[in-house]
């Protein structure tokens, strides 16, 4: 469903952008994939990221959705983007070893991208649980130059 315009950013560009976000460094986020309107963000669980019952805090899921949507949008629109907002539905309590947020552009013009994000938990045995689903919109502050 993705035929997003490409803004010519590489995985290395995206990793540098993430490293420039103090909050992403604080949470230990990393980029596992970035290309052609798709972006995968990962966060390893640790005690500081949990809520009172030992599950991943919903705020970490919301952070991951927000950021994965933003980077997916940026892959289409260029590096200078704003996320305008998003919706997240929590599907089940998140427990495991690693959170993976997979975002993709579903439609983009030069100025705006609409994106979806699926959030999964992996445990030690690589068993996957589908924990949350998000949809959001990203705007270019300076639009990508025409191809």
């Amino acid at each position: 469903m993705t035929d997003a315009p490409s803004a010519g950013l590489t995985l290395r560009d995206a990793q540098q952008d993430l490293a420039a976000q103090p909050f992403s460094v604080f949470l230990g986020a990393r980029i596992a994939a970035f290309a052609d309107g798709r972006m995968t963000l990962e966060v390893d669980l640790r005690d500081e990221l949990l809520q009172q019952n030992g599950y991943l805090h919903g705020g970490v899921l919301a952070y991951a959705a927000d950021n994965a949507l933003t980077f997916a949008g940026g892959s289409a629109l260029g590096p200078t983007v704003l996320t305008r907002g998003f919706t997240i539905d929590y599907l089940m309590p998140a427990r495991g070893r690693t959170l993976q947020a997979r975002a993709e552009v579903i439609q983009a013009s030069r100025r705006q991208a609409t994106c979806r994000c699926d959030l999964y938990m992996f445990d030690a045995a690589s068993t996957v649980a589908y924990c949350a689903a998000a949809q959001g919109r990203v705007t270019a502050i300076r639009p990508a130059p025409p191809p």
Copy 2:
């Protein structure tokens, strides 16, 4: 607009619940008010919470919305609640000294509460900027006992 059923929780109960969330402690969140279907959560800005341009990271705003909606819902439904999901619209880049998320129940039954949250930034001069607006839904895992 709030005539939420009260679950009999006090500000002290809510503060203990927040202190039991490692992620909220990690971010330095505190509860400024909690009563009758309303809840105010505060987070002081520090470098670890920023994005690459020096603004508060959207993920912190999303965390604050998620948690304030949850506690507001819990004030009506009782302490054992799940947030099912929410929508957040970012209104302007967030810069300043303290983030304040004010949530309220707009409608509740014994099992479900729908809540809204307004997120403001205060700077040193107590000037306020309205940064984000959210709406979400909270479900009781064990419903509050009938009054």
Copy 3:
């Protein structure tokens, strides 16, 4: 919470705009109030608007939310606006005589407005039920001229 810029439109302007929407005429919608970032849309119930159990169809609530958000946004941004999207939470099944959707701008710049909408049902005795809550965003195609 509303200090929306005013685009100088009157109730009569808004009523003419609504009359120019064939779908709004088809549903029998009318404007009950329009001023200063606020708009109230009404639809009288009739058999064609119901779902299979005799309640108002959710699609009519969604139409009313969409249109009330759009007109509220237009009251701040000028007559040429696009609604980018919205979220609606249904609070209870809607039964009664008249649906009233009350929307207001919660934040606006010259180009964008974020709005909320509360949807109520009135019955013959003017008893009110709060049936749905929405939040959405409206963009000016041609921004309102500076004041």
Copy 4:
């Protein structure tokens, strides 16, 4: 992504349910496909469904998203479901001959289903435009019996 439990409903069951909704009959909606957590709803454009500029009114898109999400959820949960709410992002103005709303369950338990919906416009040449994207949640009033 769909491994929704099946509630044993057929396309004919779904068509009967739609025919029992006066509002769906009023709009001329029909079901083009229904199986295994997926549902396609179609509405042919006619003058009564337009807004002031000759495009399909956003309220019709919102109706179609609401109803397609509901039926997709019902295909997993059984016929007695409530749609709790949804988010819709409009991607481009909708013009053409037929609106098609394609919904699918992305995750379901016995009581709840989360669904997405993509809305397309077809013109006389069968050219497709991707006009809106939605995400919503459906609850069983009486859960489907265990398999």
